[in-house]
Symmetry: C6
Subunit: 208 residues, 6 copies
């Protein structure tokens, strides 16, 4: 039984989520990575259909609202995106990683640094609403164990937090949100990561 | 058991439908969103085959009758469409969201605002007829609970309304229709949404 | 248990067929619709594999014999075709809608009006033969109920008609055919539908 | 139980085969048809995987040996081929239609007329060998009933014919072959069909 | 129960393999054939996934080491390859046809004649190693019956030969190999087949 | 029961991994090979979904961090990559070959020689972390038997090594790593393999 720990924010596109498994809560990492390409989205990590759909919704939302996040829309056709969720042998499913996926994708396409010691859980909709998810108590305890300090949740999950004994959570800061814009504003700093990819638009290379 | 509420009409492409589930009626939201692309249609929300076919029929109908709704046909090749139905973990199926899907798509491709406090349920055919659907009584009660004021139905569903005790529905306005054109005329206002996407035809961007 | 009625011939591409179900005969509508595209064929209506193959055969036959029906072959590359069979929740299968599908496709690609109060049932082969199908008695009774006046059948189904009590069918006109050419000549008038699509060949639009 | 009869040779690409079913032998028709296209091969008729592979082998053999049959290889990129085997509701499988398929395809791509009252059964290999098949006795009786006069078989099936009582087959002519070239020489006349398709190479049409 | 016999080496791309079935050993033929195309690889013969992978490995090996076999790499983009293993009704699987497949492909792409009365069995790896396979005793007896004189095997299968009674195999010549290069050197003569395909690079035909 | 032995490092793209099977540990070979193409990735060797995902992650990581390994990114569009894991009949799955796959791909795209008598096991993540894997004890014993001298493992697997009796492993050198960069630095020498492929960028060949 392997409980993960928070691992820092040096790399663009890596965001900490919260998972609810048969053996309790755990944190998970959403890794989004770009490579020069044609806009293909690849998903790995033994993901179920609902979780794959979350990634598709997050990608569609980001494309439709790119200006809101200062992303040049043409970038989406010039880079391939890969989203992976370790560990590869563990099956994963459910919609609750939706906001984590969008945050990871936004960090990848802006190279903005993710806030430290932050985790999040919540379903995303195509118009950017943040829906509540289950397993909140177990997820919060796992976050504490993993050295998380701040957590982003749907406003509709506030009632689940109020049911947790205050002592357990007094060191945690909770952010309750309605919309994805709030998540991104909370989660991504205005600093770039170390060694950012140069996403300036460049001529598509054709060999001579 | 989570009953949804009507949520406003600020965003283009979001239309309220009525669903009939094992635990009674509920409202649902059809979210249609555009991003620059090549005309690809993507569907998410744990949809069954019949519901996916509804989206395909709606899209084909809209393309074949674009002039009727003042849509420049070339737009369909310049934008990708994503249709999502929250929540992602709930499996959904059946043809009764057909007219809601067409309305959402039409709003997305015209950026016209959807009438407030309106919901609808009905199957669409390829020639634009509106067919009756089941579960009317449960759907209507759910609509009332969710703060819906007006409902669009197939004329063939009028008999189902007449069987409902009048007291329950005296605050609701019913629109009975035969054709999709009537649905769109009832459901979409002539106002644009706030911050509409600019759908003016523009040169397809090729990087220098 | 929902028995359909004949619904008129205002729209191109809509042809009435006869179906044989576990609860007796019924009429069904084959809806074929064109939208500007690249020659893609889409099928909806909860169709089984055999019925999907019927549509593929009909399309291949029409392409191979387009001159016989005065269709410019280049049209097939400039329009997408969608074929739908309502209602979407009812699974349908079998080859007996083959001649109805070809008639609907031919009407769509010529915009010729379908004869009124006409229905048909029969399997199509790739060389245009019309093969007999089952359930004739139940289909004929359903046609009568639905206000059909004329019926097209394979010559090999004549024996099934002769077994029906004459009183039941004295108001119906039967056309027995061997070849698809006869079906089209009987079923499509030389009039165009109201508001026909303009199928004149036009330059494929490229945005400036 | 529906036994088919020989149906003439007016149309290019239609060749009579012999089938062996649970209820005895029968004849079947392989229908191959061309329409302007890009070289796509489509298969219908409720065919199993082995029978679909037969069509793929026949097509590959024809492409690799086109000069042997006076077919300009560029034709394969300019026409789509559809192969159908009626009736559509009956599942069919097995390799024994291989030589019938190649004969039908060759007739389609040359518009040569098929010899009258001829049927055939045999597996094809990629190098053009004709392999023996099963159910010979039942197939021969069915051929007789269907008014077939000549039959093409693999040389290795001669022993199966010798086991049939001579009285039953005295009116039939048998051709035993090793190679597909012999089949084509026996089966296709040097006459064109009535109203042949013009397969002269023409410029691929691009609209102005 | 149908035991095959050696069939000569007139045709390019046909190589004799050894198979091990539930009813004992048998020989099989790998048929590889080229037709003008774009580099597509098609496989038929009722092959299981492992056997299909063998063909993919053989093709990848040949492309990566084309110079070793004097094949102009551009040929792979100008021809389609079809690999068939008769008979079509018999399911086949396993990796032991790997070296036979590579030999057939090499013969097809060089039009070099295969040595007479030669058979082989062995798994291929991507770096060209020849791995041992099972069923050696049954395969060797089948080879003898089929009039095979020489057999190529992995060096690691030598121990299986030593266990066979010497009397049975005194007329057979065994070649034990480590690498695919040795197989090709042993199996392909420097003579071309009769009527070889002209694989000289020619301009890709575009119609005027 | 077939235990493999270390086989040298002459060929680019071949790296030794460690596997854990029902019958104990074993070594395995990851073979990566390039051929001129368009960037297609093919996988063979009877691999399960998790193992296929490992290859996809490794490829995405390599593309995203190509500069770190001195690989010109345009190479990825000019070569097809095939990854095979012998033997073909044995099903394989799990994430533990991840770092071996990345090492094989990096060797293939740089033609750098792999260090001799080296094996490795570990899961890769998209950001290049090396995660621990199971079956360490069995894998180490197999490595010893196979004549391996050095082993690369995740730092988190150090505890599994400490549990092995020291006598068994005194001849082995262990390298514990956190990041893929360390694996590549340890595993690939700065020497090229014998007869390296010329990966200099060349004009994509179009036939005259
Ligand atoms: Ca964990
Ligand atoms: Ca969840
Ligand atoms: Ca709800
Ligand atoms: Ca429904
Ligand atoms: Ca009905
Ligand atoms: Ca039927
Ligand atoms: Ca029959
Ligand atoms: Ca057969
Ligand atoms: Ca045999
Ligand atoms: Ca084998
Ligand atoms: Ca082994
Ligand atoms: Ca593993």
């Amino acid at each position: 039984f392997d409980k993960d720990l928070y691992e820092g924010n040096e790399v663009a596109g890596v965001v900490t989520g919260l998972a609810w498994t048969q053996v309790g809560g755990d944190i998970l990492f959403i890794e989004a990575s770009l490579s020069p390409g044609k806009g293909k989205l690849s998903l790995t990590g033994n993901l179920g259909d609902v979780m794959k759909e979350s990634a598709a919704i997050a990608m569609a939302y980001l494309k439709a609202h790119s200006r809101k996040f200062n992303i040049d829309n043409r970038l989406f056709d010039l880079w391939d995106v890969h989203v992976h969720v370790p560990a590869g042998a563990t099956p994963k499913d459910g919609p609750s990683a939706g906001i984590t996926m969008l945050t990871a994708l936004t960090s990848a396409f802006t190279q903005r640094r993710v806030k430290t010691h932050l985790a999040m859980t919540g379903e995303i909709t195509l118009r950017g609403k943040v829906l509540p998810v289950g397993g909140i108590k177990e997820k919060i305890l796992a976050a504490k164990r993993a050295n998380i300090k701040e957590i982003i949740l749907s406003k509709s999950n506030r009632k689940d937090i109020l049911e947790i004994k205050e002592d357990y959570i007094k060191d945690l800061v909770f952010h309750y949100v309605n919309e994805m814009k709030e998540v991104i504003d909370l989660a991504l700093t205005n600093e770039k990561v170390k060694d950012p990819i140069d996403l300036t638009l460049m001529e598509k290379v054709t060999l001579p």
